[in-house]
């Protein structure tokens, strides 16, 4: 009896599964989506974006520094200023105009009619609150050290003045990035807890949050009250979480998503062949090998020079970066203030004999070094392995250790490196000074150098430079100086991610920061 029941049950289950499969197969493809036909940008409809992760630090703009958080807050929030598509020219945004009253004083006039997503107008007091909040230690903003505010004041209804302790060439650029200076509503921000602000927003940006489904989906809709009409172009944008890169590539090819980011050059090539749009190559990812110049074999400058001369950068670019990289210094070439390294950079020319000679002169015997790499990014490993082999030819033994990102950063910041070199890859930062501060800032545990001249150069680039052109020149000099002293070895800079998108998205410009700040133009 029971046997019969079970037998039938099994058959029933099989039949049911088959029937269900067929039934749903029959109604597949019912998902409707409007598609624009004209070539112009603004045309309504919905866009589906696939992201590898959701905002790590939530939606509070000034807490965002990882890609996943920056690219979301860039849709919800804006600064007083904004960047033009060349990523260097400044444009007015929440502020309608600005002027520099003195080297340390700026005045901003707010645009009329700008409202937050909840409908309340932006007031000068909101701007003051937003900027003071960044430097409040209780906020934990990673951008606190980039500002030297002496005072921020509201002057009347629509004017805000910023007074600095010393001149700061980076200020306007910082105010133009949604993450380093997003304008928030004072009343709204105070009414929400820190945790609530991680999954809710109230900015002035082109899109507003419709639903936050942790672990699967972030739904956004066009902000009808946006000041920069007729932007944005889409009625709605869905951000779907798809952690696996090969799945994202499949989803894009099959048309179930319209846009995503990929990291592997082989996927980029495959997508290009299939006629998918691929954003330009932005070499923002300087392959940093920070040197522990404070202790161990690398305290000896000649050993460091031997390493820099003993690696074949051309081969590393060809194989390690799969041909997409270029010569670079600590400040990456695709940073608006960066520049590529040239072949005449000190210690950049591959010369085995010279390397051996330097090593002999250093007096160091049996040099054994360890390099710590981030384990989550397998793409960085071949370069390290190739360097290990190249260095073995000049008599240096390199041991490769792979650590999770959290641990690697923890080791770096605590100053207990547990390695002679730490590898990290640059991503476009809020300001070029951050790259240098991470490795070389004076008086913090992570720094392994003692060089007042470099510190002076770093400070001058922020406070003395008159314009971006001059800052750019100063960072090129710093790149050269770091290469000369070999405080860091940079084999190359390569892209860290490519924006890729299907036919639905028109006139999209992928920016070097990979945060889709120009999505509203599409």
């Amino acid at each position: 009896m029971a046997g019969k029941r079970m037998g039938r049950g099994m058959l029933g289950a099989l039949a049911l599964t088959t029937a269900a499969t067929l039934a749903v197969a029959g109604c597949s493809g019912s998902g409707s989506s409007s598609s624009g036909s004209s070539g112009t940008a603004a045309r309504g409809g919905a866009l589906v974006v696939a992201d590898d992760s959701q905002p790590l630090s939530g939606l509070d703009p000034i807490m965002a520094q990882a890609f996943n958080a920056k690219r979301m807050v860039a849709q919800f929030y804006e600064g007083l200023l904004a960047l033009d598509t060349d990523t260097t020219t400044l444009k007015p945004a929440v502020a309608e105009s600005w002027k520099q009253v003195s080297p340390t004083e700026y005045e901003f006039t707010l645009r009329k009619g700008v409202t937050f997503h909840d409908g309340t107008p932006v007031k000068a007091t909101d701007v003051v609150f937003s900027l003071k909040r960044i430097v409040d230690p209780k906020t934990h903003s990673p951008y606190v050290s980039l500002y030297t505010f002496k005072d921020v004041k509201a002057v009347g209804e629509d004017k805000v003045t910023i007074t600095l302790k010393e001149p700061q060439a980076s200020l306007l650029h910082l105010l133009a990035q949604p993450w380093s200076a997003g304008i928030v509503s004072e009343q709204w921000t105070k009414s929400k807890s820190e945790n609530e602000r991680k999954t809710q927003e109230n900015g002035t940006g082109p899109y507003k949050l419709a639903a936050y489904q942790e672990g699967s989906l972030i739904k956004t809709v066009k902000f009808a009250g946006y000041w920069d009409k007729p932007k944005p172009g889409f009625d709605a944008i869905d951000y779907r979480l798809i952690p696996d890169e090969s799945t994202r590539v499949q989803a894009l090819q099959s048309g179930s998503v319209d846009m995503t980011q990929v990291k592997l050059p082989k996927n980029v090539e495959a997508l290009k062949r299939r006629g998918i749009n691929v954003g330009p190559t932005h070499n923002v990812g300087s392959y940093w090998l920070g040197m522990n110049a404070a202790q161990g074999p690398l305290a000896n400058e000649k050993v460091r020079k031997a390493i820099s001369v003993g690696i074949d950068r051309q081969q590393l670019i060809k194989i390690g970066s799969q041909g997409v990289g270029e010569l670079a210094g600590i400040v990456p070439p695709a940073d608006p203030l960066g520049a590529a390294a040239t072949a005449d950079f000190p210690n950049y020319t591959y010369n085995q004999a010279e390397a051996k000679k330097l090593l002999a002169e250093s007096g160091a015997k049996d040099v054994k070094l360890t390099v710590a790499l981030q384990s989550e990014i397998p793409e960085i490993l071949p370069t390290a392995q190739l360097m290990k082999q190249q260095l073995s030819e000049i008599g240096i033994e390199l041991e490769i250790k792979q650590l999770p990102f959290g641990q690697l950063v923890g080791n770096l910041l605590s100053g207990k490196w547990n390695a002679d070199m730490i590898q990290l890859t640059a991503a476009l930062n809020a300001d070029a000074s951050q790259y240098l501060a991470l490795w070389f800032a004076k008086g913090i545990p992570s720094t392994k150098i003692d060089d007042p001249k470099l510190w002076q150069m770093m400070s001058d680039a922020v406070t003395k430079a008159k314009d971006d052109a001059e800052r750019k020149r100063m960072y090129a000099e710093i790149n050269r100086y770091v290469a000369e002293r070999v405080y860091m070895v940079v084999p190359y800079a390569a892209p860290i991610a490519y924006d890729v998108w299907g036919p639905k998205l028109k006139k999209f410009e992928a920016d070097p920061s990979g945060t889709r700040i120009f999505l509203k133009n599409s």
Binding site: V24, R240, V409
Partner: protein
């Protein structure tokens, strides 16, 4: 019916037998009581391991949250604000106390209560696990039975090769292959984009088909092998020979007498697989972008989201403890000799 004096094999458990005689609790209660106590003890040890492991993992959430460009002051402030500055043992007792009151803490990254995170995701993982179990039984049981019936013939050889392939293929590789296949054959199939059942049942089932196949087919291989072996054993039994001798066809004998007798071990395996499947789902959820417990476990461990990671480990361990309890409960029913039930 049940009496302690009738417990078999007195050589094995004389002290328990004596104890049972003194207090005379029903053997089933004793059996379940010890199992339950053992379960609680395991959960307690697991809480220590979960807490210890997560906190011993290199790196910490403050460094990740504040990021490499933060100042030491900001990190110190954040450490204090997150309550990570006290001694570990203090943090543990605080956490355990909260857990016993049903408060699993708040995720430091998205600011949501861990209980909500888990409650949102658990149905998805359970749905996937149940669907995959159905798939694995739907192919494993009939194919195993037929392979046994046609032992040594073509069908048997094909089924055995298929199970071998199923056992050898990693679940995630199979998943990626299915995504590829689906996107070529049925590009419009909503492979990705999980929709909860309550929101849109049709889309939900559509999105479930591929991951259930990816998870269920390889696991069904084990069931298929067990079913085949178990059926072959049954064919040797006297009652099968009698059934065949009294005029039943091989198919009739198999369906009427064989399947039930052969399915004992298969039920056990399927039950334990259901528990294991929650672990396996970690891989599949990543490939098919399903917001489930597996995905939460991986991200929370990678991000050092202590509260969420600890809760996930406790939950995964808890599922095993409960499934073991359930299987233990089933044993006395399947085999009355176990647990002194006669």
């Amino acid at each position: 019916m049940s009496s302690a004096t009738q417990v078999p094999s007195p050589k094995v458990r004389p002290p328990e037998e004596r104890a049972a005689r003194r207090f005379a609790p029903p053997p089933l209660v004793l059996f379940l009581g010890t199992r339950l106590l053992r379960g609680v003890l395991v959960m307690f040890l697991l809480s220590i391991i979960a807490f210890g492991l997560v906190h011993m993992l290199p790196g910490n959430s403050v460094d990740l949250l504040a990021g490499p460009y933060s100042t030491p002051e900001v990190r110190a402030q954040l450490t204090r604000d997150l309550g990570l500055d006290g001694p570990l043992i203090e943090q543990y007792t605080h956490w355990l106390g909260n857990v016993l009151r049903g408060d699993f803490g708040i995720s430091v990254f998205n600011g949501q209560p861990v209980r909500t995170l888990i409650a949102d995701r658990l149905p998805n993982t359970l749905e996937l696990a149940i669907a995959a179990t159905i798939v694995s039984i739907a192919w494993g049981v009939p194919f195993g039975a037929i392979a046994a019936m046609k032992r040594g013939r073509f069908f048997d050889r094909v089924a055995r090769s298929a199970t071998f392939l199923g056992l050898a293929t990693p679940v995630f590789a199979f998943g990626v292959a299915l995504v590829l296949f689906a996107s070529m054959v049925m590009p419009s199939w909503p492979t990705l984009g999980w929709v909860p059942f309550t929101a849109d049942p049709v889309r939900n089932v559509q999105a479930l088909v591929l991951p259930a196949l990816a998870l269920g087919l390889p696991l069904g291989s084990t069931i298929c092998r067990y079913m085949r072996a178990s059926m072959l054993e049954v064919y040797e039994q006297d009652y099968m020979r009698t059934a065949l001798a009294t005029g039943s066809t091989r198919l009739q004998a198999t369906v009427r007498h064989g399947l039930r007798n052969a399915s004992g071990p298969v039920v056990t395996i399927a039950g334990l697989q259901l528990a294991g499947m929650v672990g396996q789902s970690i891989l599949i959820e990543n490939v098919f972008a399903i917001p489930g417990i597996g995905q939460l476990t991986v991200t929370s461990i990678l991000q050092k989201d202590y509260a969420a990671a600890q809760a996930c480990i406790l939950l995964l361990g808890g599922v095993f403890v409960v499934m073991n309890l359930v299987v233990d409960l089933f044993y006395p029913l399947i085999n009355p000799k176990v647990g002194g039930l006669r």
